[in-house]
């Protein structure tokens, strides 16, 4: 299901020529749209993000330089607008991913979705899970009788952890969402 949504939104191979001419901003925009529309977390676009960050850095330096050496203020403001637009895309992309991680951290950390996160995101997910676990333990779980204190299982005697059920529920949910998203993108 995951690969379905990725392939479905990708670029057809016949458009190879246009792919070469595609700028990173275009790719970033596509990644942002996909990430926003997909219910589950997609593969982190490590290379693209790194390239975008470099370009933004470069452009920031250029704009600063232009502002100092008295280039036409109109030109400077246009460069600044372009920079702002790219930064918006990048920030929004990263934030949507963080939102998803916060929302589904237990599910993500227990499935192969984990490999789709970047190093920093994995660190973030790990920390959030730890904090959540600590909080639940302090506020509720530690007061429960022994055997009911796991955050993953309903009770120590349950065979499979209940996260499993939740995962399968989520998976179902994802399946459906992808299905519908596929529809929306047919229209695209």
């Amino acid at each position: 299901m995951a690969s379905g949504s990725e392939d479905g939104l990708g670029i057809p191979s016949k458009d190879y020529d246009s792919l070469i001419a595609t700028t990173d901003v275009e790719l970033l925009k596509r990644a942002w749209q996909n990430e926003k529309a997909a219910p589950e977390i997609l593969q982190f676009q490590a290379d693209l993000i790194r390239r975008s960050q470099e370009q933004i850095q470069l452009m920031e330096d250029t704009v600063e330089e232009y502002a100092e050496n008295g280039t036409d203020p109109l030109t400077v403001s246009l460069y600044q607008m372009d920079l702002d637009r790219t930064q918006f895309l990048l920030r929004s992309y990263l934030r949507i991913r963080l939102q998803k991680i916060e929302k589904y951290m237990l599910h993500i950390s227990k499935t192969e979705l984990w490999n789709r996160l970047s190093k920093q995101e994995q660190k973030f997910a790990k920390r959030s899970t730890d904090h959540m676990e600590k909080h639940l333990k302090q506020s509720v779980l530690s007061r429960l009788p022994y055997g009911y204190q796991s955050i993953l299982k309903q009770s120590i005697s349950s065979e499979d952890d209940d996260m499993g059920t939740i995962s399968s529920f989520c998976a179902n949910h994802f399946f459906l969402m992808c299905y519908c998203l596929f529809l929306s993108f047919l229209i695209y």
Binding site: Q33, A37, R85, C180, L183, I187
Partner: protein, 221 residues
Amino acid sequence: MAGQSDPHLSIFSAEEVEFIAEDEMMEIVPNMKMDPLNLICGDFGPFRPQIATEVPLWLAVALKKRGKCTIRPPQWMSVEKLTQILEAERESPREFHPLPFHYVEISRLLFDHARDDIPDVYMVRSLIEDIRDVRFHKVETGLETISARTHAVKLKNLSAMEVNIVRPFIVRALQAFYKHDSPQMIPQPDTIGNRPPQVADRGPRVRAKSHMPLGTLADTL
């Protein structure tokens, strides 16, 4: 915060859809001289007075706001073309006429910032509004046909704004049908014993509340 539109209303906020549309190319005629711009999103220019050049819509609007250019409205934004489209839309009650994917946003931006560059602006504007209404009416009647046996909804030639408005509704409607349909949701005899039945059907009921009524869908346009 960037990109934090309420995911329950629609995936992209109206501003975000507009943001996407602002990358569409537009022809402008500058009235000043400026060197080429080497932007992150591409290289544009050089800009010479009276010599037309292609730039993204956001750049066109930025220059227009400062009085540095005139925007050439796209070909489809003429009274003649739009009248044809409106007629075609009215003639085929089930199909959508192919229009630029971002026609709503592009026309809106041009009406807001470049009124003086569009010939017969009032006529063009009312035609586009009519087209939008006719099309949205079709979407609404199309949605009424969604039922338990609907597995896919095909809406060809729908535009960005239209997709964005109906997407959350269609997704939730199909989801609701799927849920009620799936064997998991029908309480099995053995699970009834250890779990109160209202827990099982709480999900859909909460969801049903968040459905946006169709009437308000049209208003958000």
